[in-house]
């Protein structure tokens, strides 16, 4: 079965600091990769996704992620965080082995940005 690991469960940063959240998955075949974000009191929403092509993908609000197949990784980055980035971040993977089956999620990273 697919598994997804997010190494940092809680991250606290100051505004303007750089951010990198780690995500590793276990399946070695073709995968689709996602980062979702849940701001306080809001729905879980898509931040960015990778299906194929350029392994560096850009999402909303200045976030980007890099797919490194050899490392089974899809780390999320942002050069300069803002207080409004405080949220829960989830990495998710679909390994395309099934039909319309669901995503496998990591346990999430709770990011707190201090002003």
């Amino acid at each position: 079965a697919q598994s997804v690991s997010q190494h940092n469960h809680h991250v606290i940063l100051s505004e303007a600091a750089s951010l990198e959240l780690g995500c590793n998955y276990s399946y070695g075949g073709t995968v689709n990769l996602f980062w979702y974000v849940q701001y306080p009191g809001q729905h879980l929403q898509l931040l960015l996704k990778y299906f194929s092509g350029d392994p560096l993908v850009k999402g909303i609000k200045g976030f980007e992620a890099e797919f490194i197949k050899s490392k089974f990784s899809f780390n999320l980055r942002k050069p300069s965080v803002q207080w409004s980035d405080t949220a829960e971040y989830f990495c998710a993977v679909n390994d395309l082995r099934g039909g319309a089956d669901g995503l496998t999620f990591g346990k999430g990273t709770h990011l707190i940005i201090q002003p």
């Binding site: 997804v4 689709n32 898509l46 996704k49 299906f51 395309l96 669901g102 995503l103 990591g106 346990k107």
Partner: protein, 115 residues
């Protein structure tokens, strides 16, 4: 545009009572539909998914069941709730074909507490 609704938003139920959570999607036809659960300290776990009316696939054996009586309606049920059923239940949808089929869009969720 597409919207997804879930109700109720919060629910407190005694052990052994029945459960019915409802999810409806607007603005799309023949979506794939999903139920996830997020227990405290854990990531999102896929419970059920459906590719069409009356078609339900279960990912995790449990005392929950799902039904899809209409194209854009997905219901999560239980005949007798357990304490371990407490958690945050999320419904999601995706398009049913094409490259974007496994990009999932989430509803606001239902917070279930079983006492």
């Amino acid at each position: 545009s597409q919207t997804i609704h879930q109700w109720p938003a919060t629910l407190v139920q005694p052990v052994g009572s029945p459960l019915s959570l409802e999810c409806t999607v607007e603005g799309t036809s023949n979506p794939n539909l999903y139920w996830y659960r997020q227990a405290a300290g854990r990531g999102l776990q896929l419970l059920f998914y459906s590719v069409g009316i009356g078609q339900i696939s279960s990912e995790v054996p449990q005392n929950l069941s799902a039904s899809r009586p209409q194209d854009r309606q997905f219901i999560l049920s239980s005949k007798k709730l357990l304490l371990s059923d407490s958690g945050f239940y999320l419904c999601a949808w995706s398009v049913s074909s094409g490259r974007a089929w496994n990009t999932q869009y989430f509803g606001p969720g239902t917070r279930l507490t079983v006492l």
